[in-house]
Amino acid sequence: METAMKTPPAHTWDDNAVLSVEHLTMRFGGLVAVNDLSFNVGRGDITALIGPNGAGKTTVFNCVTGFYKPTEGRIVMRHGTGLQSEKIEALTRTGRQFNDDGDDRVFLLERMPDFEISKRAKVARTFQNIRLFGGMTALENLLVAQHNPLMLASSMTIGGILNLPSYRKARAEAIDFAAYWLEKTGLIHRADDPAADLPYGDQRRLEIARAMCTRPQLLCLDEPAAGLNPRESTELNQLLQYIRKDHGTSILLIEHDMGVVMEISDHVVVLDYGEKISDGDPDHVKNDPKVISAYLGVDEDEVAEVEEALDMPVIHGKTDPAENGEGGRS
């Protein structure tokens, strides 16, 4: 529970956003999955995207990571601090995917193909269902994620075949980096085991480790706590806090487990029927009547009555593994 009152009214996501989703609309034929959605993800924040099943959360993820091309809207990724509005407007007019600003680039994700979003814009993601390369070892899974630096070092494989010193060095670094994340996720002793042989909880952590091996600035996690037991869930919270604190990676997650959401997020965005119904810090969202009505399935004005009747002002989330926005709608 929060003890100290939060005094600063300025939020990171208002003046230092790493990702801005602006007027995002996604239609599938006649179905509007996401409608005119705008929200920001603060740099260094843990942002939770929540909402009842079918609210469009996974669709948002799919748009951000290039799985879908949005019907309308703009998705901006910033590597430099601040909102950089002028730069973004200028870039939007040019029709290019990103500007040439060294390390402070801004990217328009809706214009980029999926592999470029990972490679250049540095956005990584995991899925609701585990998508490891099951036949490869845990270590190899993490090396695939470092494909681009390795390809560069091996001058498109030629150096790799000839085993040149430059490639050997890059390879040793890649293995060290992978070992670091295996260590962090407690999987180092399983490094040479096929990923498919790991237990479920380990596989979930391996997915996060693999995503981190792309050295992302924004990590998008689709229900990372689904199917974890309470101990694993706590470990996951610690891992996410660590990633945010020690690597400065911003995290955007979809989560149904309200315990996880309220405990670790700095910022919560609530979707219902493809529209944003609430946006703010966890306390604000928790007490928003719109949110309560969406979750309880009643009209807004009835919320007070229902709350009284239930004597439960806290939202109880449900984890429903059957929800699969990406599969069901493609």
């Binding site: 290039g66 799985f67 592999f115 990972s118 390369f133 695939v144 494909h147 390809m151 091996s154 494989t157």
Partner: protein, 308 residues
Amino acid sequence: MEYFLQQLINGLTLGSIYGLIAIGYTMVYGIIGMINFAHGDIFMVGSFIALATFLALVALGISALPLILFITLLVSMLFTSAWGWTVERLAYRPLRGSFRLAPLITAIGMSIVLQNFVQITQGARVKPLPPQIQGGVTLMEGVTENGTIAVQLSYMQMIIIATTLALMIGFSLLISKTSLGRSQRACEQDQKMAALLGVNVDRTISLTFVMGAALAAVAGFMFLLLYGVIDFYIGFLAGVKAFTAAVLGGIGSLPGAMLGGLLIGLIEVFWSGYFSVEYKDVAAFSILVIVLIFMPSGLLGKPEVEKV
């Protein structure tokens, strides 16, 4: 005994060529689940390019045979790779994600296009190349009731078997150790996930076609040297045999393709040697049917496990 050994050597030589072509089938199948029926014709194109290069080098007055052979090999690998790349880019990539039969039909169409293209530009007659590498070593001699019989290992056969072996080792290392090989295996399992990790899937698939075509070019050159005649139609039967080899070994498996190729080569040669030449293809395909009845995923293929 001597006869057996001789047939064994002949079978391994032929099997090496089938194996090299089979790798192209199995890799493409592994990565995009498509049977590239034009691959046999890429092999044929490779042998034509090799012949043209060979004659051009001779016409230029280069007389050192090893140098000619080496340059011819490189040039035919290079140009055949370009063919493989172009076929993928023009005929297959636009249809990726379309219904399953579309790439298959296109591949058959591409096969006909390549055959007819070579037939029209090069003529339908067979192109001869006089034997370039002659001689060999006699491994052993024996006396049978029909006279003496010698087990010969020609230099040609040595070159074919050694080159195949070297390419196989290099190739296995490439797939298992390099970043390119790793991303190919990743694309094989989950293309979308690979893309989200920054792997350029389109380029990886293109490179797979390029690698398959380069190996087919080597096979084409060896075929040319071994048999001395080629025509626009050699790709068909060699392609079918190599495809059979890939299926026999377990399609999608690299060692499987090589093993399958060697087996098909051996079966053919032994059947011709001991029974009848006319029925050698029947024998090869019968073995395929029998193996598939008892091992549906081939000798080294992994059974497809239904995920629960």
